[in-house]
Every structure is written in structure tokens, then in C-alpha cells.
Subunit: 234 residues, 2 copies
């Protein structure tokens, strides 16, 4: 199947549409992340509510991608490599959906944080979020260009995000010990930092999928960096 | 395609194998979760290390399920409903892989917790873990029996897990305020409770997939329960 020029062209067009939907979904998740952190820093409850609401569109895109993928497989009966491409689009959309959820979770915490001015890491979180946002942007770019080297760079940059996380974790714990009345707010910031760290992990997962799709090989372990859990230890 | 008796039988056998792999994978994740909590309570570093190591087998099963699913689609060219069944197996294995990761993360925290005896929620965590474990067991059962009603019950029981989480969250925060020297240990317990809560969410996600596969309809929102984030508020 899928061997005549006509069918190949139809498949390529369908796949192009599928990949465009993944790109749109990724762009939305990236925007949600940037918006959630901005809402947090500015304490903008309205912006936070809009991000929570907009997550439904990200979820709807995942459903639409799955629908189109199933249609494409059933209609075009793609062979091994093409089939892998379709399933990769589905898998990547599943990861992006989770990234969107993490951004939504950050937005949900905005209204719980009334008293963050005195908590030092609130000023580090935006820088961490920028690093994570850069990873998401770069991995979507690598996906669009089927760029294995770009995917490796994304995976490597996860170290920076993990360093941010470990630094914020330590700083927040110290802050909590010295200022027990900020424990509630600090705990929310801790979860936000953890959400950012998880988005970085997910971007790395996508990078691995992009690398595999482009080269047919698994990405070397070295590029993936360390697990930040180990460094959380005091 | 897949209309002759012979081909239908071959497809059913392949699908049966795929579903058996999902069941095996789920059983391993369930065991990892129970083992991680036991290792935590007993402070058993060796058991924790074994769980971390065993997670590789869960990951390998996901790869194997994907490989077999691709082979099945390419070879049998299943039509709409059958294709949905194959893709559901792949998606569910993706969720189980994440459940395994959460269990692994709990195991990784065992060696960071030297001083938990005085922290009250350590005694509540095993009960919460049992509820989560029951959910995972029940949803795998519902998957095996294509049992829509069972899936609804799993989704409903997520409320109990969320109640546990909210209770532990509040208790830990109070404990931290009163005993700032336990903040590091308490924070790890907080993340463990969050991991358990997330496993419950994932079991609910699987329940939704099982329900959809069995009925062709989306599960009603009511069955899914509340998001525990809202209740974290002090």
C-alpha cells in the first residue's frame, strides 16, 4: 500500500496536517506556560483564569490529533516508517497535553498566593520558567525540522532547569525554616518549581522521540542529564 | 480487510497478547507502588533500590507493547473499532509507565528520609497508598473485563484519594509550622503524597479510556470528582 505517487502525496498531505496540529498544540502549551508565570508574578487572577480556561483547547487538540491519526491509519494504511511518524505525532501530542496541565496547575495556584513578596525564589522562578519555555520552543522547532542535533541540545539543556530546581528547592526550604509563617506560600512555590521541572522532563521526552524519529536510534543516556531528585537531598 | 474468519481470529489472538502485556505491565506498576510504600515505612533501602531497578522492566514493557502494536497495525490493517482497541492498549501502557515512574520516585525518596518517626502523616500515607493501589488494581480489572461500570467506580473512588491528599497536605503544613526542623523530611512526604495523588489521577484517566472503549461514550464529568488543587487552599 501507499506506493503509488498519488497515495504517497495524499499521505504526506495528511501527515503534514497532523504535524501542523501538533505544532499548534505545542505553541499553545508554550504560551500557557509563559502566561501562567506572568500571571503568578503579577498576581493577575484574570489572566490565570483565562489560562485555566484555554487548557480546554489544548485538550481538544489532542482529541483532534488522535481522531485524525486514526483516520489516517485506517484510510492510508501506512507502512512501518510512516506509521511510526503518525504514532509519534499522537505520542508527542499526549506529552504536550501534560505540559499544558502543568501550566494550568501553575495558573491555579495564583489565587492561593497572596503573600509572596518576601519569598526570594519568586524572583528566580521566572528565570527558571524562561529556561523551560526555551526548551519547549526549541523541541517543537526540532520536531518541525526533524532536527536530531537540535533535539540533543534540548535534552542537554534540561540540566540547567534541574539546577534551577535544586537551587529553588534548597532556598525555599531554608526560607521556610527561618520563616515558618510563609510555609503555605512557600509550599505552593515549591510545587510550581516542581511543575516547571516536570515540563522540562517532558520536553526532554519529546526530544528523545524527535531524535528517534530522525535517526532510528535511541538518544545516548549522557545527553539526558541527571535526575534532580538525587540532588534534592540536604 | 480483517473480514475473513481466519484474519479475525489472528487479529484477536494478537490483540489478546497485547492486552496480556498491558495487564502484566499494570501488575508490575501496582507491585512497585505497594513495595515503595512498604520500603518507605520500613526504611528499607535495599527494597527501595530493587524497585528503582525494576522500573526498567516496566519501561521495557511499554516499548514492547508499542512494537507489537505497530506490528499488529501494519500486518492486520485493523478497521476503526479494532484500531481503537490497539491504540487504547498503547495509550494505557503509556499511563502505566508514568504510574511506575511515580512509584520509582517514591522509592528514591526513601534514603532521604532519616527522621520521619515524629511526623504524623507517615502513618496516614500507607492508608492513602492502599486506596491508590486498590484503584490501580480495580482499573486493570475493568480493562481486562471491558467493564464500564467498574471503570465508573474507579473514577468515583478518586475522591477518597483526593480527600487523603488534602488531609495530609494540611497536616504536614501544620506540622512544619510547629516543627521547623522537620521541614526537609515533611517536604519529601508532601511530594510522596502528591505522587500518590497523581497515580490516582492516572488510574482515573485509564478508567475513562476503558469506559470509552466499552461504551463509545465519554464518562460523565460527575463521576470524575473534584480537582484536589482547589482544596489545598488554607
Amino acid at each position: 500500500m501507499a506506493t503509488t505517487g498519488h497515495t504517497v502525496k495524499a499521505f504526506d498531505e495528511d501527515l503534514g496536517q497532523l504535524r501542523a496540529l501538533v505544532a499548534e498544540m505545542g505553541g499553545r502549551a508554550e504560551a500557557a506556560l509563559a502566561g501562567a508565570i506572568q500571571a503568578l508574578v503579577r498576581r493577575d487572577l484574570e489572566a490565570a483564569a483565562a489560562i485555566i480556561e484555554d487548557d480546554k483547547k489544548i485538550d481538544a487538540l489532542e482529541v483532534e490529533i488522535e481522531r485524525q491519526a486514526i483516520r489516517l491509519i485506517a484510510l492510508r494504511a501506512p507502512m512501518a516508517d510512516d506509521l511510526r511518524d503518525v504514532l509519534a505525532a499522537m505520542k508527542i501530542s499526549g506529552v504536550i497535553e501534560r505540559m499544558g496541565d502543568y501550566a494550568k496547575n501553575i495558573a491555579k495556584r495564583v489565587h492561593m498566593l497572596n503573600d509572596v513578596k518576601g519569598i526570594e525564589p519568586i524572583s528566580i522562578l521566572p528565570a527558571m520558567a524562561r529556561s523551560v519555555s526555551d526548551m519547549v520552543h526549541a523541541v517543537l522547532d526540532a520536531y518541525a525540522r526533524r532536527d536530531a542535533e537540535g533535539a540533543v541540545r534540548v535534552a542537554e539543556s534540561d540540566r540547567t532547569v534541574d539546577d534551577f530546581y535544586n537551587s529553588i528547592f534548597r532556598t525555599l526550604l531554608t526560607h521556610m525554616m527561618e520563616n515558618p509563617h510563609t510555609i503555605t506560600a512557600s509550599t505552593h512555590l515549591l510545587f510550581i518549581a516542581k511543575n516547571l521541572e516536570r515540563i522540562g522532563d517532558h520536553a526532554t521526552n519529546v526530544a528523545e522521540m524527535v531524535y528517534y524519529a530522525a535517526t532510528g536510534k535511541q538518544m545516548a543516556e549522557r545527553a539526558k542529564g541527571e535526575d534532580p531528585l538525587a540532588a534534592e537531598e540536604e
